[in-house]
Amino acid sequence: MTATVNQTKLRCVVQAATLVAACSIASPVVSAADDLLERGRYLTYAGGCISCHTEDVEDAAPLAGGRALETPFGTFFSPNITPHRETGIGDWSEDGFLAALWQGISPEGEHYFPAFPYTSYTGVSRADGLAIRAYLLSLDPVSKVNREHDLSWYMSSRLAAGAWKAVNFEPRRFTPEAGRDEQWNRGAYLVRHLGHCGECHTPRGVTGVLDRGAEMAGGELGSEKIPNITPHASDGIGRWSTSDIEYFLDFGMLPGGDFAGSSMAEVIEDNTSKLTREDRLAIAAYLKSLPPLESAYD
């Protein structure tokens, strides 16, 4: 199920990265690289990469792409992000990877459709982006050709993606907000950027752009209504305590002890349950700090 790190390859990455000649390298270096990969793995789960880039079938190769994402503009199929040189991202440089993450541009200079949440990932730090890359490159390459998106005619060109981007997007790293504590800023970083919660929980305008003024006031995913998670007492999660939120993100328990299935179940399984408790509490602290809004949908 979960992707396993090939230890031999890991050593080689270490070698390449540190220009150390022998394979039996000094342990502090190995542990620094191990830390990098471990952090990259953590961020790959926290960032949801693992969910969207893994096909929704039994025994699917992790991160080899192929998952369908249905949107009002057509169906997108996630690409292969294993280190396969021809079909994956094996040939991508650090800068190429960061350009994809931060600006939605492929190494060939093509614009990605915002189904890939680069509009959120643009806030991800350089260190985190590179840790994710290091982890992805440490995995076994899987040969799997990307499937073409199936889009409405007016979206069927990458130019449309470029035009959309020119109007709706400004690349920008996250900077901690002065006057807020470390926990809040960590939560903001996770919710707005790495975890890209707003991609589902924030409503969109007609062009599909997120309405940042209604952050977390609820959205729609296909036919599913995505809940308002602002602290609004009746429409949102205003009655949830911090530990209610933490428990929900950990294993899906609603306040009061129920366990309701939804598309969030998978997010909990693959992403939020894999976070540290501190990160879940940071998310809770951030969500509780948002202005309480009425739901964006009926």
């Binding site: 428990y247 009061g256 366990f259 179940a265």
Partner: protein
Amino acid sequence: MQRKSITVFLTFAVSAVLSLQAFADTTPEDAKDYRAAIMTSLRGHIGAASMITRGLVENDGHLVSHAEGLAASAKELDRLFPAGSDVGESESLPLIWEEPEAFAAAIKKLQDATAEFVTAAKGGDAETIGAAFRNVGMSCRGCHDRYRESD
């Protein structure tokens, strides 16, 4: 302790006999409502146990009662889904009856998890209790994700 076990045993024995009689003319609606009632009891014990586990409410020995309540209700799950009880406002998905073995395995998971939670609650170690409680939650969710209609 001995007396408690006997009481528990007798309670089960008596309710088993009663239930056998009751089931003779149980309608599908009754079966569905009974199932919902047991689910509500599970939810109540989970909610209460979670508050004690999180330290929001004093334990005072009550965690064991809730754990035992969970284990007792979990034991009943096997008989809560008779064929044809998918009626009215039921949230049970047809998959329950389409893959009975997988469903039985999912129930067994909860039964094992709740039994372990009872042991943990009696043991009193906070970390073990937390982990055991999480396991109970995971088995609830595992089943609901697959077999219960989502919102």
